[in-house]
Symmetry: C2
Subunit: 541 residues, 2 copies
């Protein structure tokens, strides 16, 4: 049952400051119910409750946090039909895609549950006392990662499930031991409320303080800004535009107490097709590229937006293939009116530049709703990009830009000129790659993930994934927002010096009651620590 | 041989923008030679060379970086007498202390060398391909930590060796694979140049590009600001005042491309003496506290500046002991004229408040140079601190403030009111501690390091050390500036998807040529990865 209200203290929270409604981008129709914006007082209440809940939730053992995450996953599975239907109406995304996205969301929750239940992720370190060391004895020093406090999570428009209310930011913040305050994205309020209800119910079932979670509907950027500036909020997770992300970064950095702000923003995900691969696989690369840049109506932060090709017949053949695909492509609705508007203005800006040639565009019947996007393929010369670096800016939607370069040196110079990226892709044979150590070295400095003979869309949720990269791809390239390493955004190490066993966290007690991996005197081990044994070993040496 | 010039491209670099000279705080005398400020052009040259050197240095195996660090350590050992003598004259710190600090500096370099030679610190992760996974195959995903680029390091006044030119920031940045640009602290230019010469010579001996290191003498905050804003600088390490640190943070955050800025700033390191310990060990605690807050003329970021005591006879006894120590204390010169001036104004500000009583101060002969500091002990009531939280501000120098509280609830409220700290200390018996889980939980949210029955000065360089903490103690509580974990400030993960073995970094190749610990499919192992074995194991299951 949708109520149209924020969720605070575990329940629907009426009141607020103004209203809005969901919208079906396929038809332009308004969706029931009316949603009420949370006021700044509502936010203050939610933040106070989160801070209070943190005192309890931060102390819970990993297995209890795992239970919470799994309860949410089970709850989402149980409302699958309903939430997919609502998300389909609110986003225009096909049901099959949303089914996949829900599977990813629940798998992600369960993967984080596994990680915190196993427990070794906390980076426990023990440097035992050395009372006889000269000239000074060494104290007993131990450290472990601890949660930082309430985290503000911003739902994103393009992943109504996997990067929204119970998405990767929320899952990793909960896993780490932090309460979460979600600002719902107004592009899918009903989906957000359904998922929020599952989380609130799961907290209740697990006996957690209700303040561990809140869902807030907010007007434009006002509530978002207040959330990032609230003194009780200690970290931020955001996926969205460069403009919005940078403004949150600036707010977080200019607080009296600056806080970690993890924003994932803008990436054009360059693709380099190397000569031998271009000669031998151009049709295959063209169809893969087309599928990747039009997937989800081009609304992925990993959409390949720049394709670098060496001038010549092989590149002509690849572009001709791409052209065929684009001309036969169908149009689909974008997530919101404002996204489709900004896609159209992005296209117009490119088409307005004399150096840009429009190689192909999909045929669009005249009576499409204004939210529908037309796939377009552009082309420029490398020299054009040097003259006008703005051409490499992100156009969010089903379009890509081919850049033809004259020679290898120009390719390397172009690679050096791109900004920070989430991904960079190489298509090459083994010998192409062997000849490209210099290009790979350049791209390692530009991107969080390098891909060989694949496409950047499709971000695996696993232990080794890095969905991050140098600015403007993200606010802080030292972290990832996808994969189990995302948990490290919302923790900090705490060190315990000369604590008696009884006062140490379980992770650091001599006997290793949790059986986790620990770094003892610089060596990884799952063994308990026994001072005597160390002494004996030292004596033997 | 001191030249009075910056070191750029491996050599003394004449020219610049203005001059200054070293100064002996014990006598007020000016020291030879005259030092020349680097200009912004000099900085630009050093940054260009560092960026170029990064292309080479980032690719070096851990064992080569280890060799560089050890060469620096050996070089410092070889100039021990000279550098200690110069540092003694420039800082007024006793030779014994400087000898210890040099030992710490070279041990630190060697510890980082051990870490990068062993190699497991890079957090290598392998999630192998699952070509048969349904509904979609999984790509081969691997990730490893890589250096971020040239790092700006600011020498600090209070550790002329261990936190300056070849200190912890430099050692960790080099260990991680980054070039370093040091801004020398003007309080010890000769010491800085001697150490800088050793680093430049070590780079040469190890066949590294000279741009891997530069030492810049700079006028006030101008060169420092330019360094943090330079587009080729990718990270910052700083130890110093809150004002300077916050201003660097703000500059780093407001760059077109914001960069990680690690500043270690302000901490008053609260000490809580619990009832039973207070009753049974008050004389011992008093002498330890006195030694800690006057160590190094109170010029440590870990100096205990607030001491919380429950009102009563036991606290009276402890304060009486402290008073005796302070009244018999001798005076010593502070590091610089401006530090001693700000100590005196900090004392005056406290003495000007009617609620503050001056319990004791050391007797100072009238003819001391103005750089000498007088140890002072102050006292207030808990209620005073609530009324005037500024009383808890840092006074850098040999002074501490006793706060008497009425009851346990007041103590907890006071603990909750303190800002972010590097450390918090508890003195307590086992039963005191057992009754203080609530206090410990509060302090875990406030500090990077909690100490039982010890004193916060003395920061062990080891694997588990955390010298960090919530703002304003540092800019980013997720990191430490002391201990081997300091290396994680200056790296970011890079992910390789479907790379052929030949193009992967050594850390990620199947056969594990470096023999490091890796997380394969979520499990830690030092074994090579063999796809077949995994398949066989899966088949057996």
């Amino acid at each position: 049952m949708l109520t149209g209200h924020s969720i605070i203290n575990g329940e629907s929270h009426p009141g607020g400051a103004g209203t809005f409604a969901g919208y079906d981008p396929s038809t332009g129709a308004t969706l029931e119910p009316t949603y009420h914006y949370a006021s700044l007082q509502d936010l203050a209440l939610a933040a106070d409750l989160a801070d209070e809940a943190f005192g309890v939730y931060r102390q819970l053992p990993g297995k209890d946090r795992a239970r919470f995450l799994r309860t949410i996953a089970t709850g989402l599975d149980s409302i699958a039909a309903e939430v997919i239907d609502r998300a389909h109406r609110e986003t225009g995304l096909p049901e099959a895609r949303l089914k996949g996205e829900l599977a990813r969301t629940v798998n992600q929750l369960r993967l984080f549950a596994d990680v915190v239940e196993e427990g070794s992720w906390v980076n426990a370190r023990i440097d035992p006392a050395q009372p006889d060391r000269k000239p000074l004895p060494r104290a007993d020093i131990r450290s472990v990662l601890r949660p930082i406090g309430p985290i503000a999570v911003f739902g994103s428009s393009n992943f109504p499930l996997a990067f929204s209310v119970a998405g990767g930011d929320t899952a990793s913040a909960f896993a780490a031991g932090n309460p979460v305050l979600v600002k719902a994205h107004s592009a899918h309020p009903g989906t957000s409320e359904l998922v929020g209800q599952v989380i609130a119910r799961s907290a209740r079932e697990c006996g957690l303080p209700a303040g561990v979670f809140a869902l807030l509907f907010g007007a434009g950027s006002k509530l978002g800004a207040a959330l990032v500036q609230h003194p009780k909020v200690k970290g931020v997770g955001f996926t969205g535009s460069l403009t919005a992300g940078r403004s949150l970064m600036d707010l977080a950095a200019s607080r009296p107490e600056p806080i970690p702000c993890f924003t994932e923003m803008s990436s054009v995900n360059p693709v380099f097709v190397l000569p031998e691969a271009l000669r031998t696989r151009n049709a295959q690369i063209a169809s893969g590229l087309f599928a990747s840049f039009t997937l989800g109506v081009g609304q992925f932060c990993t959409k390949p937006g720049l394709v670098f090709l060496p001038r010549g017949q092989d590149a002509d053949a690849l572009v001709a293939e791409l052209k065929k695909h684009v001309e036969q492509a169908s149009c689909a609705p974008m997530l919101t009116e404002s996204i489709s508007k900004s896609y159209r203005s992005g296209l117009a800006a490119r088409q307005g530049k004399p150096c840009v040639s429009t190689v192909a565009q999909a045929g669009a019947p005249g009576d499409l709703a204004s939210s529908y996007a037309v796939p377009v393929l552009f082309e420029i010369a490398g020299a054009d990009l040097v003259r006008d670096p703005d051409l490499a800016g992100e156009v969010f939607g089903p379009s890509t830009l081919v850049i033809r370069y004259e020679d290898r040196d120009e390719m390397l110079a172009l690679a050096r000129s791109v900004e920070g990226q989430l991904t960079a892709t190489l298509h090459g044979t083994e010998s192409d790659l062997a000849a490209s150590a210099d290009l790979i070295a350049i791209l390692e400095r530009k991107a969080g993930r390098l891909i060989v003979n694949g496409f950047p869309t499709g971000v695996e949720v696993c232990h080794a994934m890095v969905h991050g990269g140098p600015y403007p791809a993200t606010s802080d390239s030292r972290f990832t927002s996808v994969g189990t390493q995302a948990i490290y955004r919302f923790v900090r190490p705490v060190c315990y010096q000369d604590f008696p066993q009884s006062a140490l966290p379980h992770e650091l007690k001599d006997e290793n009651p949790l059986g986790i991996w620990r770094l003892i005197n610089g060596s990884l081990t799952r063994e308990p620590y026994a001072a005597n044994r160390e002494e004996m070993l030292t004596a033997v040496k």
